[in-house]
Symmetry: C3
Amino acid sequence: MANPRFYSTNGPISLRKLADISGAEIGKGADPEAEFVDVRGLFEAGPEHVSFLDNKRYIDTFSQTKAGACIVHPDCADKAPKGLALLLSEQPYHAYAKVAQAFYPAPPPIDFRAPTAVIDKTASIGENCQIEAGAVIGARAEIGDNCHIGPLSVIGAGVVVGNDCIIESSVTVIHATIADRVTIHAGVRIGQDGFGFAPGGDGHLKVPQIGCVYIEDDVSIGANTTIDRGSAADTVIGEGTKIDNLVQIGHNVKIGKHCIVVSQVGISGSTEIGDFVMIGGKVGIAGHLKIGSGARIAAMSGIMNHIEAKATVGGMPAMPMREWLRSVAVFRRLAAKKSDA
Amino acid sequence: MANPRFYSTNGPISLRKLADISGAEIGKGADPEAEFVDVRGLFEAGPEHVSFLDNKRYIDTFSQTKAGACIVHPDCADKAPKGLALLLSEQPYHAYAKVAQAFYPAPPPIDFRAPTAVIDKTASIGENCQIEAGAVIGARAEIGDNCHIGPLSVIGAGVVVGNDCIIESSVTVIHATIADRVTIHAGVRIGQDGFGFAPGGDGHLKVPQIGCVYIEDDVSIGANTTIDRGSAADTVIGEGTKIDNLVQIGHNVKIGKHCIVVSQVGISGSTEIGDFVMIGGKVGIAGHLKIGSGARIAAMSGIMNHIEAKATVGGMPAMPMREWLRSVAVFRRLAAKKSDA
Amino acid sequence: MANPRFYSTNGPISLRKLADISGAEIGKGADPEAEFVDVRGLFEAGPEHVSFLDNKRYIDTFSQTKAGACIVHPDCADKAPKGLALLLSEQPYHAYAKVAQAFYPAPPPIDFRAPTAVIDKTASIGENCQIEAGAVIGARAEIGDNCHIGPLSVIGAGVVVGNDCIIESSVTVIHATIADRVTIHAGVRIGQDGFGFAPGGDGHLKVPQIGCVYIEDDVSIGANTTIDRGSAADTVIGEGTKIDNLVQIGHNVKIGKHCIVVSQVGISGSTEIGDFVMIGGKVGIAGHLKIGSGARIAAMSGIMNHIEAKATVGGMPAMPMREWLRSVAVFRRLAAKKSDA
């Protein structure tokens, strides 16, 4: 399925090894030495492929799959077609991610500095870094080991990048410290001035923005997303947080660990977000708010007040999810009633 | 009107030729050999200019225009001032587009490779391609004839670009196939990893994204828009579809032919959109939905369910347009009533 | 507080000089010759620092601050701790902006042309311009004095840039005239084709976009924002207007002077906006509307009709702010009531 113009598989891999990698248990009767060449969807897979079942909507497809092996929750094992080798996991999608990573490992950087890259002589670059065409690395920048700096990206003066980071093409990183294993997709802008102006009847005065951006380990940032630097303290993106495309993060925002921030979200200045918060697409969050850990915010909601830990909210302005769903129903009923009159 | 710093006209052009080009019919009494030098708005035009009337709001301006010629629907012909040469068309704006294209043809690419462009020696580039300063073209990329690759754009390894494509500045195209006559504006990001993570209590695991992006003929993509590649299958943008600026298109999305997607729309992963769908600005569409052909979605709507072909919907969550308009009215009335109490 | 990797202060500065710079009055008993080394928040400041109180929420922190000097409204002076030198101002945040600018002046450009910059020989560049690595400056472009053109930015053919402009990295400016003291952050796209298509049953025809963009003095434009050029007339951003990140401005839009446009706003084609208009984050404004001077639009509102000068509106579709707040309350009450039934 993966186009060979762009991808090559690491297969074949034995069932035993796939079980080791994914933490899944090999189902009864399956041959641990059987080898598989690639991953495929349940419908497309053949006997040489590994597939997975995560969403019970597809259980009928599972029962008829021609895959050679399948990662599945133990509860669904009895629906398997005869002869299918099972990899049993309490978290089938998680296990699939590990199996797919084994077949398609991220290509490691190769030690390379493109002749057209412009690297300041005071910059320090670690071992085995791949610096691509036209990249610009400023004075006193420090880049760790095994980093990939894509074509035409700018790493500004003084910026620190840790180890094993992937910075794709046409990225700008200024006034920032990036920890380890961070992925930054194309066109991301990190560390520019926040939107700080002192309004006045004769115009708006710029307030110098003298903070930075700190990106912790294992963060991923989507294409064309913007993260402003702090006005005085730092803007912080916590460990393991995953941010999608075209997201705006204002100055002084602090996002905790392992949050999910879906595309086109906007988070206004100085808002603080806890850990494991899920923020749906296009959500807007006003400034100076606190969003508790584990909160879940439905797509397109508008957040104008603090949100308690573990709350699930929706709507504009946002309210508890159940209340919002109910109010939408009432709204539609009223509209229907009036139209009868 | 067009600033000569940036544009030069192709005029003068005769009325006969303009009629040929646009498919319009020359009105009674007009001289087919009369020549016109440029296009202008109804209000600004003089006797040497061609104008058009598309929106009946401007019919009074039409009746007083000093233009030499005007493209107009036959129904409005009797409102024309005396002496105005008419170009009669059932689709005046369509006809105007063709006339304006005749006066301002897109400049053809010139055969040129900037010395600072970095073109991998295994890349293949067709005839008459204009590759501008700092562009980076990767290994095994294939670019057709008459393409314009703007400054500082990246065409990644293995990417295929058809004939007559315009890729503006600072674009990234990776893991993608682009067909013919596609226009990609500045800052667009195509083919980066989709937002695929297997969530988990100890962090979110990256799911390898092993699909591609396929852009069909005559597509236009606006500045700073992002189109993620498929997770396994391809993300597809259908023939003739026009996408505005800052739009987000998630992995595995399939958009049909001749759709209009206005600025800042977000389409979540695996949603399928039919042909001739119109999606207003800032609309959000959840994942795994089907939007039928010919559907129309009002600006800022939130789509949480499948939409039938030819439906017109609005609101968040979206409902049939008439119902939404009614419910808005009810809502406002209730608010007014309560404030009396 | 400001990280010395990225910033150096201009201090020490005497109280007398800070008063001069900010227009504040030195409070009774303070020594005008006392010197301060930096700015700090009320809580973090020590005796060598200048702080400010703008938001009365922090008045208790003010009363206990260890700062050496503080900018404050005269009404709050009596809450100051003993020994604190006061700088009295009717507009403390405005005064603070000036003081912070004195400690952290924007670094002036240095006369420099990076060897990798590609500057067309017909381009004209003023005195003391800093043109960074990989910047591309097209034919007949004119750049004034004291400009900073960041790495990998494109200034297209014929573009005019005034004096004292800052254009950050990876920006595209084409078909545009930029006046003086304009700041354009990374990834901004200015002057590309507007979204102009003549729709039709057999596809959508491109309408040539033959206008330009005009950016007046002292405008600031946030990262990855897009401003399309006019279809015939110009798209205009008025003097002193400040635009945040990821904003979309359609063709022919005219924005007046000293407006504030917060992140992710979208303004559709041909809309005209007066002076001193405040537009909150994620607002969508339909095309061909007029927004009067001094209007204020709440975040996430949808504007489908003209807005009168000085009106304050909110909601989707927007209504007067008080009405919107009331209707939200009614809505929630109804939902609660129904759930009792």
